[in-house]
Symmetry: C2
Subunit: 441 residues, 2 copies
C-alpha cells in the first residue's frame, strides 16, 4: 500500500485558472496510477478562507475554487475506477472563526456557545502551548476569552459537549456515504485533556466505522501506540524523521533505534513519509540534500515495513524550507513540465523554490532514467510487487555505523535489505553496496 499526500491548490488545474481543483485531480489520476499509488490524502477541501484550509467554515461545502459537489463526486469516481482510495484531511479539532457555529456563539446563542471552550475564573489566561510558547486563550471585545490552541483563527470545539461529538460523527458518516474512503484526522492528539480521555474519545468516535483512518499524533512512541490500535494506521513522525537524520549524519544509529521504537511489533501499520506540509521537504532536509541522499532516503522509506507515504513533489525532489508564518513555501505548484506552461499546471503563486526550467518537472524527469522520479518509480514498482512488506517482520543482521543489513520476512516471503549510508563502497556477504545506495537481495 502506497500513499500520496496532495495539496489540491498546487497539484493540478482543471479549468485553466491556475488554481488546482477537483477536475484537475481527476485528470491527474493517470499519473498517480502510473506511480502505483493506493490512496491519496487530500489536504483540506472544505469551505475555508485560508489557503491551507485547516480552519473550516462549512464542512458541508467545498472550497469554491476547488469545485462543486458534483465535480468532487466525479473526481472520487475517477479515482475509484483506477483502484485509488481517497482519504480526506478532516480538521475537526476546531472550526474556522467564521463558521456559523462560532459566529452564533459570538452573538450569544447559548446552544452554540457550548460548542466552544470558554475561559472561566480558574482559567490561566496566560497558558502557553508546549511546542512554541504561543498563547492558547484569545480575547473578544466583550471581555470573554475562547480557547484556540492553533491561534485566534481557529476556536477549539468543545468535545465535552455530546452534541459536538454527534455533529462530527454525522459529518463523518455523511462523507463515508458519499464514497470517501477514510480520513486523516488533524490534531488528533488534542481532542481531550489526557491521553486516556483522548484514546477513549477516538474509540467511541470510530466505533462501527470502516475506512482508512490516519491520525496525526505527533508525540512520543507510547502515545502513538496507545492510539494505534484504534486507528489501525499511524503517521510515524519518529521514523520518518530518523530516516533523514541517519542519511544526513551518515550514521545508522538513529535509524535503527527508531525502527526498534516505532516500527517493530506494532498492532497497527506505521505510515512512514518523505515529509509533509508542516516541515521542510525531503530535498531540503537540514538545508538541502544531495541527489544521492534524497534517493537513499526514498530507498530506505520503501524498504521498511508499514505504509510508505509520499508528499506530492517529493518524488521529484521538489525543494522547500519550512518557515513560519509563510508556510506556503513548502506548497509550491507541482511542476508538470519544464516551462510550467501546459494545461493542468497550477500557478496560484510564483514557486518559492521550484520554478520553470529547474529540471524537476515530471515531463523532464520521466525522460531521464537517472532522475529522482525514475528512482522513486522503481521503488514504487518494487513495493507494488511486494505488498507483503507492509506487514513484514524485521530482523537486523548487521548494525554497523555506516551500513545496515536487515531481513524482512512474512509467512511466505523473505528478503535481505542492505543500506550503505556512506560515500564509500562496502562489500558484505558478497553483496556490493555502492556509495549511498540500497541493495535488495
Amino acid at each position: 500500500m502506497i500513499g500520496y499526500q496532495i495539496y489540491v491548490r498546487s497539484f493540478r488545474d482543471g479549468n485553466l485558472d491556475g488554481v488546482g481543483d477537483f477536475r484537475g485531480l481527476k485528470n491527474a489520476v493517470s499519473y498517480l496510477k502510473e506511480l502505483g499509488i493506493d490512496f491519496v490524502w487530500l489536504m483540506p477541501v472544505f469551505s475555508s478562507i485560508s489557503f491551507h484550509g485547516y480552519d473550516v467554515v462549512d464542512f458541508y461545502s467545498f472550497k469554491a475554487e476547488y469545485g462543486s459537489v458534483r465535480e468532487f463526486k466525479e473526481m472520487l469516481e475517477a479515482f475509484h475506477d483506477s483502484g485509488i482510495k481517497v482519504v480526506l484531511d478532516l480538521p475537526i479539532h476546531h472550526t474556522g472563526f467564521l463558521h456559523t457555529w462560532f459566529q452564533k456563539a459570538l452573538k450569544g446563542d447559548p446552544h452554540y456557545r457550548d460548542y466552544y471552550v470558554w475561559a472561566n475564573k480558574e482559567t490561566d489566561l496566560d497558558e502557553r502551548r508546549e511546542w512554541d510558547g504561543e498563547k492558547i486563550w484569545h480575547p473578544l471585545e466583550d471581555g470573554r476569552f475562547y480557547r484556540g490552541l492553533f491561534g485566534p483563527f481557529s476556536p477549539d470545539l468543545n468535545y465535552d459537549n455530546p452534541q459536538v461529538f454527534d455533529e462530527m460523527k454525522k459529518l463523518v458518516l455523511h462523507l463515508l456515504d458519499m464514497g470517501v474512503d477514510g480520513f486523516r484526522f488533524d490534531a488528533a492528539k488534542h481532542m481531550r485533556d489526557t491521553i486516556e480521555q483522548n484514546v477513549r474519545f477516538w474509540k467511541y468516535f470510530l466505533s462501527d466505522l470502516k475506512g482508512i483512518f490516519l491520525a496525526e499524533i505527533w508525540a512520543e512512541a507510547r502515545m502513538v501506540d496507545e492510539h494505534g490500535r484504534i486507528f489501525g494506521y499511524m503517521l510515524n513522525f519518529d521514523t520518518s524523521h530518523c530516516i533523514k537524520e541517519a542519511v544526513w549524519k551518515e550514521n545508522t544509529r538513529v535509524l535503527i533505534e527508531s525502527i526498534e521504537r516505532a516500527v517493530v511489533g506494532k498492532d497497527y501499520l506505521p505510515v512512514n513519509f518523505t515529509s509533509n506540509h508542516d516541515m521542510s521537504r525531503l530535498a531540503s532536509f537540514e538545508g538541502g540534500f544531495s541527489k544521492e541522499k534524497i534517493e537513499l532516503s526514498i530507498s530506505i522509506l520503501f524498504t521498511l515495513p508499514g505504509v510508505p507515504l509520499v508528499f506530492y513533489g517529493d518524488e521529484l525532489g521538489m525543494k522547500g524550507v519550512y518557515q513560519k508564518p509563510n508556510t506556503e513555501v513548502v506548497l509550491d505548484p507541482f511542476p508538470w513540465n519544464e516551462n510550467m506552461c501546459v494545461e493542468g499546471q497550477t500557478f496560484w503563486k510564483w514557486p518559492a523554490y521550484n520554478g520553470p526550467f529547474s529540471g524537476i518537472s515530471v515531463e523532464y524527469q520521466k525522460r531521464n532514467p537517472d532522475s529522482i522520479l525514475s528512482h522513486t518509480m522503481r521503488w514504487m514498482r518494487f513495493r507494488k510487487e511486494n505488498q507483503w512488506i507492509d506487514r513484514a517482520k524485521i530482523e537486523f543482521l548487521r548494525k554497523e555505523e555506516k551500513f545496515l543489513v536487515y531481513r524482512l520476512y512474512g509467512d511466505q516471503y523473505s528478503l535481505k535489505v542492505f543500506h550503505n549510508l556512506s560515500g564509500e563502497e562496502v562489500v558484505f556477504e558478497g553483496v556490493k553496496m555502492k556509495p549511498y545506495k540500497t541493495e535488495v537481495v
Copy 2:
C-alpha cells in the same frame, strides 16, 4: 477624479473561499465610495493560469476563481450605481502560452502562425531586452523560435498582421459594449518597433472609441508625451517616483524638475500614483518610509494637477518590497480588520508583510483619526471638493531645498500649496509648515 488600482485576488472575497472575486468587489463598493474613488483599475480578470493574469488564455471568459460573466456584470452595475467607473487591465501585447491561438500556431496552423512573431534567418536570437538583459527569443522543440518580450510564457502578438488588430479591436468593442468604462493598456509602448509606429498603432486602435484609456508607457517624457494626446490619460511614472525620492532625500529638487518635465503644460492628464504591482509599495520605498513620510507623499500626490491613483492598500500604509520572481509579495491580502477573520477577507496566501494584528487594517485605522487611512481620506475629500485641480495650472512661488510653495490655479479657482520636506518647522509668508507636512491656503 481619483483612481484606485485593485488586485482582485487580494481585495475582497464574496464566497468564503478566501480568494478575492467579483462578488467581493461588489461588496466593497461602499468602502470605495466612502473613499471617494471615481474609477477602479482592475488588474487582469481574464482566464489565465498565472496568479497575476497578464498571460491571458481566453479574453472572452473570466478567471474561474473570480466568478462568472453574470457576477462580473452585477459587479459592474453595483459600481455604476455608485458612480464609480470600471477600467480593465488589458494585456493585448501578447497572449498566454496556452491561448488557443498559440496552441494552434504550435501545431502548424498557418492562419494562427501569423498571429505571433517568429524568428527568421536575420533574427539575432541572442537579442536581449533593454531593462534586464533577459532573452527575447524562445526556442521550441522543433527548432523554431518565437518572440516573447516578457518571457516564454507570453508569446508576443504580431501586430503587423491586420487580423490580430481586428481581433483585439473586436474584443475592446465587446467589453465596452458590456459596460466596461475603459482600459489600462499593459506594455503599451511595445506594440510596434518604433515610437512613430507605436503612436500610429494606438491612434488607429483607439479611433472612434470613448472611455478612460490609461497607457503603460514606462519611458522618458518625450515618449510619454507623444502617446499622451491619443490616450488622454498617461500613467506618470516619472513624477510618481520623484515625489517619493524627494520625500526620501528631504530635497525638493527632483520633485520640481519632474513636475516641470512631466506635469506642466501637457495636452493629456498625467496619472500620478502611490505605487503599483511592478515596484515596492509606497510604505516600503527605499527600504521603508516612516509614517510621516508616507503621509507627506500622499499629501503631495493629492496636491498636484492630474489624476491621483492609489494602489490598493497604499492608503493603509501596507508594506511590500518588490522582488523578482516572487512579485506576489507586493500583492498581499487587503486587511479588512485586525484579526483578518471577517467575511470578505481574502487569504489565498499568508501575507508577506501585512499580517493579522499589525495595526494596518481598515477597521483599526478608521477608528483612529491619526492613522494613515484617515490622513488619506482627508486628502481624498479635499480633492473631491476641488476637482478643478485635475486640470489646474501650476506656478512655483518658492523653490527651497527643503520646502516648496506653488500656486494651483484654474479659470475660477486658485490656492497655494506649501510642502515642508524637512523635519524642522518652517514659516513662510505667515504660514507655519510643520515638519513633514503640507498646508493648503
